[in-house]
Symmetry: D2
Subunit: 333 residues, 4 copies
């Protein structure tokens, strides 16, 4: 349940207000040189600070307790731990009785029969993605291609020059707003993906939907291609490398990377925690009641989530990369 | 790679032009009464025949060789096999040298180093989804809620009364067109989904993207919610059942079913095989060249794919349903 | 539950008296040339016929329905099916009420709540091992080393020249007897096995204990080494190949193959089905009662089980071989 | 590779001389009351101190960083970490060139291409079993039956009253000795085990062989039953609970628990690290050479390993217990 991958296996643990969150990364080949500054840099990108992001700024000091020796991977599992320090548990206690709409508060209470650690959203907190970012920063050092992310839309805004101004206004209203992130890679080697159930696009969609707040994923032209005919949508192949004239397919044919850049769009919903009053079910009183959420929250989580999506994508790709290598190499013997 | 699920495990095998395709379903609880007419009815829904669908109409006679005894599941794996009968291998031989754009022909050749069975698309053929439909028809008989699908858009057409006419025109052009399918369920019990990596939406997205031709999946309001603010997007909870006033979340909060109907949109691209000439890479001549595809193909695969998506969804849901039961029941002891 | 392996995945299905048993083999690298005569030869070795083996002699005609093309593996799952033909269901019906000691009859009835197909032992029948033998015969064609098996003891007999005579006498008594099989390989490449939980000896023990009638497994000197001191038990390394002077470790150090031949002993219990009368619980009468088992049974299943153990071992080894290749090859890039 | 279990999943990490070892336990049902004194007590049992055990006595102070809230499990993964404190890395550096016979030193060097952390045996150290003991101490609090272990033989000694004396003599010789541990449970509920590949005995054998130094496992009468005939070996069933007159089967029929106590014997080899000089391969000099091992080692690891085997067994049993519950409960609906 908390493990992802078939060869490069990532196991996440932790809850927002317990001692620590962390990740165990199994199946890392030995002898990979690890540059820790990449982990640090990626954690920094995830950090709050810009307009529209929360004022709960964690230090996010990670510690690697095993799996590295002389700056190289040993072939043993890598364990990375991040302590929870800036924890204010008092902010959340009232929400147990009056669950927040759009959050997992209520359903988690039912599923775990009241035993879940509800403080700060518990295991449903975006906080856990810090550990995932660390794992992705390791994965990217194994992959022979680049991954980038870009925020391409926030609310009605597609030109993002005036983003700060736009978000300040929404913050003043005590409201929040969603965004769309585009993920891209340099051209992938052909053949990543293992049909029928580990296709490239299926694994990518799975791991991206695992990230809190994601509500849509499409590949290449995706939903926008609904009006295109086959003769327009098809990407004619140009040469032996698999390069295509257009890239409506987003780099994926039949669930396999086809030699072109991967192109994915991810819909991120507006942050559920808003200051504005909401009329919603109160458990003790067994009727709806006005809820006002306090605490420190992002107005636009889409502004911070890009690196999380990028590194999540890296986890899906590194696993398929290792799988593809296994079979490719074997046949050469 | 070809197995899906952690408790209810589905293993698919087969290639379009070999002797048979089939599925092994493991982890089915004993004592479930199986109505075979549901399997037959679902296979019929997948069948071609309507305007815009292929004239290769398979008999799709399935055989259950194990796992059922006196019309009930035994607790042993169920094996369902469908022989490949209406096979015309000659149609495809030329495509080995001149791979079709939008298909896996070329990338499969590279990945499998020329050893793949390329006839009829081999394992990348939509044909394999017939076995998946059978498995889903078993899954639906275990689930205590209903799943339905609806074709809501084809090309520019959102009112689908004139669909036959519209597709006939595209067929005349030798072209193809995509569509959007909406999947819905009756209200799910609360708590299906296992964070962090087996969340409900993540599993649903994974299995839907496994189906050939799918290029986008969103949940609830999905991409259309980009302009909504948090105060609009959030679904206020109304009562103890988890029922919400609106359903922008599509029935999923924090990766868990929240007691409301599941609502998913799936983008299906236009069929890649078109009659219209295409300019694309020819392997032997090592340059682009005009390709004219013969054979029997769907103009609008979206017209047949609904039951495949519905039953694929059932596979994701039944697995999460069993997982949720395990933990829910345990604590009661 | 019915799938074994992490890269080379074997899924077994079938029950003794249903239409068929079979196996799906996933994760087979493409381009392996398959010699079907090896499958046929191995099935023949498993077949009854010698003194002390059952007179139910199945034809064991297998059919490969997918995954092979021009005598080579395609990279798609291989499905092999064997129909159940020589089935005499009447022999078993009485045993439902009067379960046989040493068999799974009673516990299977309880576990599957009466829904299991009890005829011929259902899924607990040794019959399923025929499908496993087929899968192992594929696996052996991928491995670069040899596996052999030898019956080294039957009852009190360690010199097996008079085995026929010995078993005839036990058959006359209406009784049965167990045996010990020794499995050996030519020297394995160093490093097969993935700690902590996929160690070579752990995987080998797991798959061997999966075979019905196995009650003990030891590696190298095993239990016989209880009186040896460390200075005697340790195998001094002789050269860079890992070759050791003695082989008390049976070719395994720290859960990894150490460059020497693998050496395993397997204890096979006496066949549970005996003609001799037994006093055991009768369900309907809810008290013990004399049971006389009819039907065709082996006096010494150890005489037929060798090839099953050999091919089961091949399944464990091929999976670890592929895993080891993945990481070994990767680092070379 | 470092994860065990299908529902109750245990992931181990750590190397002997890095910062920490630890375990992530996933799939723990919510609401289980955890008594931490059991973890502490089990770690104490594993601790060195008695005659014949190492003088490297770790403090083994564990920390639970997540998954518990108000002394109950939350349903989130439990992470337990043990820091490595009493580390003397200098003791081991020479062994890199002159690998110890019976250890994984040499084969690990080859497998991980020199990148493994060789200090103190790295991931092959018995040290990792401390984390496994913690996980097992959690597992035992979920199971409704008892598990015990007993040392029944050390070298030639089956009456163990004079064990201290016996081991002191072996210690004086600079040698070591193995032992046999017997594991027993109170009667298990019927039906634990999931054929074909998750049978009770197969899972038990797998996890026990995962523990360093184990070279043999048998169930019930096991290897000792080689001379028994079927009429002697078969355990007649006495009543509806599945209780049998004898227990040659060790509580397992057809890979399922049959309602009787589980009975397992485990062969533990003599500790490989001995003071006595050994003639073995030296890598740099590329020839055999006398090796004298320094450092603090156990003379008889069998004296400490019992609690490790007991708790490893608990991990196999709790996973099968949860699996059995899933299917059992389901059918009742």
């Amino acid at each position: 349940m908390n493990t992802y991958g078939s060869l490069f296996k990532v196991t996440l643990y932790g809850e927002s207000h317990q001692k620590a969150i962390g990740v165990v990364i199994d199946g890392v080949p030995p002898g990979i040189k690890i540059d820790e500054s990449i982990i640090q840099a990626d954690l920094l990108k995830r950090k709050a600070g810009a307009v529209g992001t929360t004022t709960r700024i964690e230090e996010d000091a990670y510690e690697i307790t095993s799996g590295l020796f002389n700056q190289h991977t040993t072939g043993s599992p890598i364990h990375i731990m991040i302590e929870n320090k800036d924890v204010r548990s008092k902010d959340y206690s009232a929400l147990k009785k009056h669950p927040r709409p759009g959050h997992a508060d209520y359903v988690a209470h039912v599923k775990y029969q009241g035993y879940n650690d509800y403080r700060g959203g518990g295991r449903f907190s975006g906080r856990l993605t810090a550990a995932l970012v660390c794992a992705g920063a390791i994965a990217k050092q194994i992959l022979p291609f680049k991954i980038t992310h870009e925020l391409i839309q926030v609310g009605t805004l597609t030109n993002l020059e005036k983003l700060d101004e736009y978000l300040e206004k929404i913050a003043e209203e005590g409201d929040s707003i969603g965004g769309i992130i585009q993920l891209k890679t340099s051209p992938l080697p052909m053949g990543l993906g293992e049909p029928f159930f580990q296709k490239l696009d299926a694994e990518v969609a799975k791991i991206l939907f695992s990230i809190p707040a994601v509500k849509g994923v499409d590949i290449g032209t995706g939903f926008s291609g609904i009006t295109l005919k086959g003769s327009e949508f098809n990407d004619p192949i140009l040469d032996a490398s698999g390069k295509t004239k257009s890239n409506h397919s987003g780099g994926v044919s039949g669930g396999l990377s086809n030699g072109n850049p991967l192109k994915i769009r991810v819909m991120v919903k507006p942050t559920s925690s808003i200051k504005k009053a909401q009329e919603t079910y109160h458990k003790e009183e067994n009727q709806t009641k006005t809820l006002e959420i306090k605490g420190r929250h992002d107005v636009c989580i889409a502004r911070r989530i890009g690196i999380v999506l990028e590194n999540a994508l890296a986890l899906a790709l590194v696993d398929l990369y290792l799988l593809n290598q296994t079979y490719k190499t074997f046949s050469k013997e």
